[in-house]
Amino acid sequence: MKAEKENLKLSTAKNKKGSFKKVVTAAEYQLGKEMADAIVGVAKELEGDKEQIKADLVDKVASMKAPVAEHILEAPVKERDAVPKEPVNFSDLIGGMAVEKIAKARPQVKADTQYSRAGRVRGSLKDKVDNEPILASRRRRFAPDEPSVRAGLEESVPLGIFSDPASLRKAKPLLPIWEQMHQRDLQLAVMHPPSNIYEEMISWTNQGKLWKFPIDNEQGWEKEQNVPFSEHIFLDKHLQDWCPKKGPVRHFMELVCIGLSKNPHFTVEEKKEHILGYKNYFAGKSKLLKELGAV
């Protein structure tokens, strides 16, 4: 046993006087006397390289969370100060230690404030702040809360909103823009960008950016394609019904018709509407016109 314990020793420390003192082995320092003994016993039982087994076990146990070895705290000063030559694995050492949770003494609260709403809120907030580590609370922020009531799909009586649920599968979804975009995507998947200038110019012509051959001056004027030019020019027929044959009003309206006939930008309907507008205006002012003697 003693020989095997000595095998566990990673180093020996020499006193100033030159005599060997009983030194706490690294394993005992990390894990405790009992643990070291247990490791020795296990290594004994198992077959194979015992040194390797012991080393592995020491590593394994040291990596687990374990409290600070009691015997270190209780040991006399000399033993404690005897540091092995090889550096102690501090991460293992500290990892072995657990943080002591010191229960904070809650301040004495009066009975009436403790059970008041404010008191309860304060209490619950304190519970949250003190006891839960930061990481857990952060994790919980983004994790969904468990539902308090579990709902089953087949449990309660149906509302009966849909008379024929099977037909809903055939119903079209009300996503018109989605459909349009989908169609566009399909088109773009098939279309290729123009490989040469000819294809580019073809696409421009189709878009209406370039003149088509043979040149048609009215390219792009789809509205008035079928309307003959005579309707644009001969507008006197619209004056027949209402306009007086002589006088300043007739003179004015003839000027209007000449002007409209020379205007290429208006459609025939717009010209008719203008003439009608004048008709309504003069109909409204008929009293004034009669006074003036214009009619």
Binding site: L125, K128, R141, P248, F252, L255, G277, L289, L292
Partner: protein, 130 residues
Amino acid sequence: MNNMLKNTLKLIPSTLGICSNIMFQQLRTRWVDCRMIRDFKRRKCVVEYADERLRLRTILKNKVLPVAIREDARAMIMELPRNSHPYRTTYRCALTSRPRGNVKPFRMSRIVWRDLADHNRLSGVQRAMW
């Protein structure tokens, strides 16, 4: 009761957390600023009353009709809403809403125009050199 409170209190920090995580992006709508919106409203009004104005103006400006009728037309045209006057509109830059220094055929302010021209985004625009 305590449990309910705890549950409600759980929600508050979570929502605050989410609010603080939202990334604020540049808001790009059709209108750059309120002046642009106002200008658009004026233009809509102009379009609405355009025909009426045209007819009344022709009656106003001609010398064929008697004076009384012309005066009457003048009164009528002044009764129309102010925003139907086309000269209340401003030719603002479409991108920055700049009221002055605009290149009219492009509907842009000179600064934006220059920037786009330098980056070859304007068809047929080239640096002058002679």
